[in-house]
Amino acid sequence: MKKLILLSGFMIVTILAANATKANISNDATLFKSILVKTDQKKKVTLVASGLTCSMCSKAIFKSLTKLDFVEEVKVDIEKSTYILSFKTDSKVNLAQIKKAVTDAGFGVKSLVYE
């Protein structure tokens, strides 16, 4: 029983130690209001996702983004969790839907730049 208590203590301490460094999360609530933008193919969005490191997680986001009906193509840098979205001609780009696609995949949006 003593060993069990020691082991439990180790587990709790390791979890708490990892928690000690607080994550620096930007409050993005105001950045991602539903914005409808009429666009041409020259416009793109560069999105950095948060909360993941593995390729399976990255693919979940990729699949979710490619399902959006106004998205033409998604280029991805897996290691940097970065996605570059280009859009269909004369489509309406909804930034809120882009954000929702990422959160539906189980992750967050660190930054999103429309240019």
Partner: protein, 265 residues
């Protein structure tokens, strides 16, 4: 120092190395679930095989369907062909940042079995008897380190007053990516190693067990997994029917498989 204590120290040492060697972390655990849920509308089909050791050295074939109902709710439906089980997991808290997250989830599970194990003190979770359970899972991914702790309660649906009825269930899981060193495409095969500690402390009586469960996992096309693991006791003061198992499973994730609800933005 007895053998069991040396085994525990060995496992703690390996887990510590996972932390301090700063290897790439993985939380797609083989013997437990992380607090992270499945992507919304994803469907996972899983087929498992268990070769049980101990008094009951039977083979167990297991089929499971996992569904990401939405970004917070996960449902598993499974059968080992002598019964069925249901598992619900809801993500209570999420804190995401670049290359890190902290997540807390609550789960509930029900195992319905044709079998009864009323002469066994431990609460058996591999289809040997009918069980209800609930608990919390805390998972932290931080750059190169992923760790998950679960604490729960399990109770037999049928029990004898001479034997155990309920237990405190816990697990501590760590994993790392050993290949590839750098991601370039989704087609790269991933090789992951895991070490999990799985324990149970009986609440009626003094029995308890603590198992170690090392496993290797291959991920193909960032979509299919092949898992091979071996679970064995570090300490066992119960009369459970099986105290070790060789585990093999394969699963495939279908992204965006479930119907989409209409949203009007």
């Amino acid at each position: 120092m007895n053998r069991q204590f040396r085994s525990i120290c060995f496992c703690v040492l390996i887990l510590s190395n996972f932390v301090y060697l700063r290897l790439v972390a993985q939380e797609l655990y083989v013997f437990s679930d992380p607090a992270s849920t499945k992507p919304a509308r994803a469907l996972v089909l899983k087929q498992g095989f268990q070769k049980m050791g101990g008094i009951n050295n039977r083979n167990n074939t297991y089929t499971q369907l996992q569904m990401g109902i939405n970004k917070l709710l996960l449902v598993h439906l499974g059968t080992n062909y002598t019964g069925w089980d249901t598992y619900l997991q809801y993500r209570l808290a999420t804190k995401d940042a670049l290359y890190e997250h902290t997540r807390l989830a609550i789960y509930a599970k029900s195992i319905q079995s044709k079998n009864k194990a009323i002469h066994t003190s431990a609460v058996l979770l591999d289809g040997e008897e009918s069980v209800l359970g609930t608990g919390l899972i805390l998972t932290q991914l931080k750059h190169k380190w992923a760790s998950s702790l679960s604490l729960g309660y399990v109770q037999k649906k049928d029990w004898s007053s001479h034997y155990g009825k309920n237990a405190f269930q816990y697990s501590f899981s760590n994993g790392l990516l050993v290949y590839p060193k750098h991601y370039s495409t989704y087609k790269q095969t991933n090789v992951n190693l895991y070490l999990e500690l799985l324990g149970q402390k009986l609440l009626s009586g003094n029995g308890q067990y603590l198992d170690a469960a090392p496993a290797i996992q291959l991920i193909f096309n960032s979509q299919a997994k092949l898992n091979l693991g071996y679970r064995f006791p570090l300490l066992d003061k119960t009369n459970r029917m099986s105290n070790s198992q060789l585990y093999l499973s394969a699963d495939y994730m279908f992204f965006n498989a479930l119907p989409k609800r209409n949203h009007h933005n």
